[in-house]
Structures are given as C-alpha cells and as structure tokens.
C-alpha cells in the first residue's frame, strides 16, 4: 500500500447490500485485499510509459453517497457516479445492482478481469467497489435499428470522488444491437473506473459508440470484447481526454470470418491526456479487422496510441489494417503512437502505420480565401481529418457528437 489513494480506498468499502450473494461479497473483499497490496503503476512500466499517475496517487477521493438518479430523459439507462437507474429499456437491459439484490445473481454475472487473476490496482478497485453497471443480454435473433443510449455521469461536484461501474453485455446468436455509451464530462478530481465485458455470439452484430466528454478525473476503462464466428463489431470511440483518460481495449476475434471495424478519435485540449492501449487478437482464420484512429492534440495535451495486433498461429487468411494519424495543434502538445504487428500465421494481409502532422496550410488558405474565418476553417479541416475514423458511418452517435463538438458559431 504505497499511495494515499490506495490507503484512502482501503478504508472505504461500503457494507454489503441486502440480498447480495455470498460469492460477490467474498469477491469484493478479495479484491480489496489485492488493491491494498498492489504495486502502484510507474512510468517505467511499459504500459504506463507515457501517462503519469503521479497526481492521482496523492489524491484521497471519497465514495459518493448513493443518490439514485431521477431524470433518465430518453436514455435506456443512466448511471450517476456508479449508481444506475433504468429508463426506457427493453427487458433484456437490467442493472447489475438489481440482479445482485434479487439474490439470483450467479457467478457468471461477475465481469471478467477478476481481481484474483493478476489485475492491476484499477482492476482491483473496480472489482471491490463496482456494484452496478449495465447488464445486457440480447436474445438470439433480436434486431433493432434504434440506438440505445446509456448515459454515464459523474457526481457533478468539484470534490474529489471515486466511483466504479461494471458492464456485462452479451449478444445472442444472430442478434443486432446498437449501443451508445454516452459519458459526460467528469468534473472534480478523483477516480472513475469502468470495466466492460462484452461477448458477441455467432453471427451477431454489435455496433458500439462510446463518447467520452472532456473530464478532470482519472477515467480508467477496461474493455474486453470477444467475437464468435461470423460475428461483427463496429466500434466507434470519441474521447476528449481526462486526467488521464486511459482505455485498455482488448478485442478478441475468437471465431472464423469475424469482421471488426474500430474507429476512434481523440480530441484533446488543455492538459488532458487520452491513452489507448489497444490489443487486437486474430485467433481464428479468415477474419478481417480495420482499425483507424485519429488523434488531435492541442495546447498542452497528450495522446497515446499503443496499437497491438497479434495474429495467432493458425489464423490464416487474416486481413488486418491498423492506422493512426495525428494532428498536433501546438508545439507543446504531444502524440505517442506506436502500432505493432505480431504475426504467427500464413497468408496474412497486414498493414500498419502512424503519421503525425499539422493542418494543411494550403487547405487552410483555400478556405480562408473564400471568406471562411481562421477558426472555422481550422475546425472544418479538423473535422474532416477526424471523421475519417468513422469512414462511411457518419451517422453514428460518435460521428454526430464529433460534429457537434466542432461546430463553430
């Protein structure tokens, strides 16, 4: 227990709620023990090379007293500082908290990355403290064109807080789901962790958009998505950074003929940090993946893109594309982009690359010569640059949100 943060959290575990199964109570206690003894990540650790947790280590955030959110607006679910409410949702969308309280919650509900399996301090914190999250179990064959929105907010106070969410999302065979995780600005300081365990069964298609507004908390996300044969993933991420915003995203193409399209945008201002550790595993033959990231770093912000693709032995016929382009808006901004390919299979088509540049001066002049002011010209070009991450899908919630952010009066 070498940090103030760990000490503070260790003393705060709320008592179990009524109805919680024994395995869950045990699990969180184990996680708390692991949290206490865990080593605090350092810059010398490869995974934390570019993102400092020094400030966070010194903080003493408090558990937010559960104020179950009242207003749900048009969202399927709302989570405020780790406590949820169900809104306009189909029956297969529930809260983890409700399932736990019902006493029928089996171990299978526990999200992956359990504390016991060598997770880090944030995995342990999440396993110890998270007692709510989205529990989505889409029945086989379900089809719906509408986007379901899950609204995620912080405590909305300037104080230092910590809260945690655990989502578990499963799509049955041939099911289709469009899900928008809409994360608002997390103000104040402290720590938010969100662990998501997502499984997409054979032939199912998950379209997931995750928008994360600029925040000042440390926002730590751990997402694991596993796809069975013939399944499809369309994942769009839009992240304005936090202090820091860190996302460890693992996509496992477990079955044959899987198609994964991942597009992401970092839009960073101030001193915010967005750090993606992307791990894509081609484990079976004939899967194709396309990963397109765009990072825009202005002022003193920093973007980290660590993209790793592993093509396992036997995953023949793999087609994997990975690219990250960055725009540096100031000399004090920083981008660290590192795409890595590891290939152990045959007949594999792979390409990867990373570039860093600035807005094209010729294009800027061209727009201005037609009367468009400098700010508007910049934002038009920035938007064009960023929108490439979403390809043809300019109607996705992430693309629309991006357009909103860059709208110039």
């Amino acid at each position: 227990m070498d940090t103030v943060l760990q000490q503070t959290l260790a003393a705060q575990l709320p008592p179990p709620s009524a109805g919680w199964p024994a395995w869950f109570i045990e699990r969180r206690q184990r996680a708390l023990d692991a949290l206490v003894s865990a080593r605090w990540p350092q810059r010398k650790d490869e995974a934390w090379k570019y993102t400092s947790l020094h400030e966070l280590a010194q903080q003493a955030p408090q558990v937010v007293q559960a104020a179950v959110p009242a207003a749900v607006d048009d969202a399927a679910m709302v989570f405020v500082a780790g406590q949820g409410a169900v809104g306009n949702a189909p029956p297969f969308m529930r809260r983890l908290a409700d399932a736990l309280a019902s006493g029928q919650a089996g171990q299978a509900l526990a999200p992956a990355t359990p504390a016991a399996e060598g997770g880090d301090v944030f995995d342990h914190a999440n396993a110890a403290f998270a007692s709510d999250g989205a529990l989505i179990d889409v029945p086989a064959g379900y089809v719906d064109d509408d986007w379901f929105r899950i609204h995620i907010r912080g405590a909305g106070q300037a104080a230092s807080t910590h809260w945690h969410l655990a989502h578990r999302i499963q799509l049955g065979e041939g099911a289709n789901l469009r899900l928008h995780l809409d994360q608002e600005a997390l103000s104040g300081s402290g720590l938010a962790t969100i662990v998501s365990d997502i499984r997409v069964a054979r032939g199912a298609h998950l379209e997931l958009a995750w928008t994360r507004a600029a925040g000042d908390m440390a926002s730590i996300a751990r997402t694991r998505i596993e796809l069975e044969a013939d399944a499809r993933l369309t994942l769009h991420v839009l992240d304005a950074g936090a202090s820091p915003s860190r996302h460890d995203l693992t996509v496992v193409l477990a079955g044959e003929n899987v198609q994964s399209d991942v597009g992401g945008v970092f839009m960073l201002e101030g001193r915010r940090v967005a750090d993606l550790q992307f791990d894509l595993r081609h484990d079976s033959p004939n899967a194709s993946s396309n990963t397109t990231w765009r990072a825009i770093a202005n002022e003193r912000s920093r973007a980290v893109f660590n993209g790793h693709i592993n093509v396992a032995k036997g995953a023949d016929g793999t087609d994997a594309q990975l690219g990250c382009k960055s725009l540096l808006g100031s000399v004090q901004a920083e981008v660290d982009a590192k795409p890595v390919l590891e290939i152990y299979a045959d007949d594999v088509k792979c390409a990867h690359g990373a570039t860093v540049g600035q807005l094209d001066a010729q294009a800027l002049f061209y727009l201005r010569s037609r009367g468009i002011g400098l700010d508007q010209a910049r934002s038009m070009l920035t938007r064009a640059f960023a929108a490439e991450a979403f390809g043809e899908r300019q109607d996705s919630p992430a693309a629309l949100r991006l357009a909103q952010w860059l709208e110039v009066a």
Partner: protein, 254 residues
C-alpha cells in the same frame, strides 16, 4: 477599384515582383500575360493574402482600403476572389457545405443575413445553368478526386456563387477542353457588370476571344512592361515574348 503601386514582393528569399503598377477600374477586364516564372501567380497570391509572400515596397488599395492589411478572409468579404492556378483538394469537406459556409461567412462579416439552405440550393441551381457541373461533384469533398478541368470549373462555379467585386483568374483556361473553356468564359461573361472588375491571367489567346478584355498587360520579370488593348494579345501570339523583350531593350538603348 484596384490600384497597385510600385509593388515589390519576395518569397523564399527571392525578389519576384519588382515594381509592379496596375490599375483596374470597375467594369473593366484586364488580361495579364507573361512568360513562365515572371510572377503572375505571385501577384495573385499577394493580392489574395497567401502566407509566405513578403511585400517589401509599394501599396495595394482596393475600394479605398489598404488591401495588404487584411486577412485572406477579410479580402474575400471585401469582394476579392482568386481562382487558383492549382486548386486545393480538401477531402472530407463537402463541396456544397463549404461553399455555403463561405457565402455565409462573407455575408456575416458584411453584416448581411445568412442564406438558408433552401435559398442556397436555388442559387446553386441557377448558377449551374451557365456552368454545368455533375451533381456528384457537388456532393464530393472539395476538389477531391476532381480532374484538372473539373477543378477549374469548380473555381468558376464558386466565383459565380460568391459574386465577387474583383475576380482574379489564374490560368483558369489551362487544361480545359474546348467546351469547358467556353463554359468558363460564359461564367465570366455572365458576371461581367459595370461594378465588377476582372484580372485574367492566361497564356493563350483563345480565352481572350471569348472573354474580350479591355486591356492586355505583359508581365516580365516582376514588372508590367507593356500594356495595350486586346490587339496586343494577338501580337504576342504571333511574335512571342521575345518580341516584347527586344522592344524594351531597344527602348532602353534609345
């Protein structure tokens, strides 16, 4: 409307314009011809406010304003338009969206009301009658993947929609097929009016057959060395720029 007086400009450490004088009055069409590298595009760049050009002496006044003091977008709002020799490709910025943004930005800075999308569409349709551009070009990114000729036509289309007071056309005719050349000329002629001025930079007589200029100037080594009416263009076509240079050597010797 436009008065250029003893303009000196340099770029990349090299003096390009070396004392250029030119007056363009409202309603006039001026053609500028001259050998490659003589400074025609440099003049266009300096007038439109492109970065990287340093004015070392001289002045440019436009409708009573010091043009060189203005930002590129302010010049556009004041009514200056440049059809570029090499239009820029901007993938991801929709052509129509761009043009409407430009028109509205100009209107805002002139204190006029913005044009709504219905009105704008009507305007675009009307302008397209003179200058046919395939529909899909309007929906694509600005000049993105356009052929050379399509880019030039897009420049003139923008000019037609923005209705500038002073239009500078930098070799808009280069690379155009015969029909497109005709359309470009029609586009310019449709806009000709007693309030509007044009500077048409070209290497070829042919465009000037369609757009009949009031004046023709010859720019050599950063200066206008010869001015005349449109018969000058014919003489140039017949004798080449060597002929002008020789006459000047003769003048200088006399």
């Amino acid at each position: 409307m436009l008065t250029i007086d003893n303009l000196h400009a340099r770029t990349a450490g090299k003096d390009i314009l070396k004392g250029l004088d030119l007056k363009v009055g409202a309603g006039e069409v001026h053609a500028i011809m001259g050998p490659n590298g003589s400074g025609k595009s440099t003049l266009a760049s300096v007038l439109s406010g492109r970065d990287g050009y340093e004015v070392t002496a001289g002045s440019v006044r436009f409708n009573g304003q010091d043009l060189l003091e203005l930002e590129p977008e302010e010049r556009a709002a004041a009514g200056v338009f440049l059809a570029l020799q090499y239009p820029v490709e901007i993938p991801g910025v929709n052509n129509t969206y761009f043009l409407r943004a430009a028109l509205n930005a100009q209107r805002r800075s002139r204190g006029e009301a913005e044009i709504d999308s219905v009105e704008f569409l009507r305007l675009v349709r009307e302008k397209l009658k003179v200058l046919s551009l395939p529909d899909d070009l309007l929906k694509r990114g600005v000049n993105s993947g356009f052929s050379g000729g399509e880019k030039k036509r897009n420049e003139i289309f923008q000019m037609a929609v923005l209705e500038p007071a002073l239009a500078i056309l930098d070799e808009t005719d280069s690379g155009l097929d015969i029909d497109a050349l005709r359309q470009v000329a029609d586009g310019v002629n449709a806009l000709r009016s007693p309030e509007r001025g044009f500077i048409v930079i070209t290497h070829y007589q042919r465009l000037l057959d369609y757009i009949q200029p009031d004046f023709v100037h010859v720019l050599v080594d950063g200066r206008i060395v010869e001015s005349g009416d449109r018969t000058l263009a014919r003489e140039l076509e017949a004798h080449g720029y060597g002929w002008v240079a020789e006459r000047h050597l003769a003048d200088a010797g006399a």
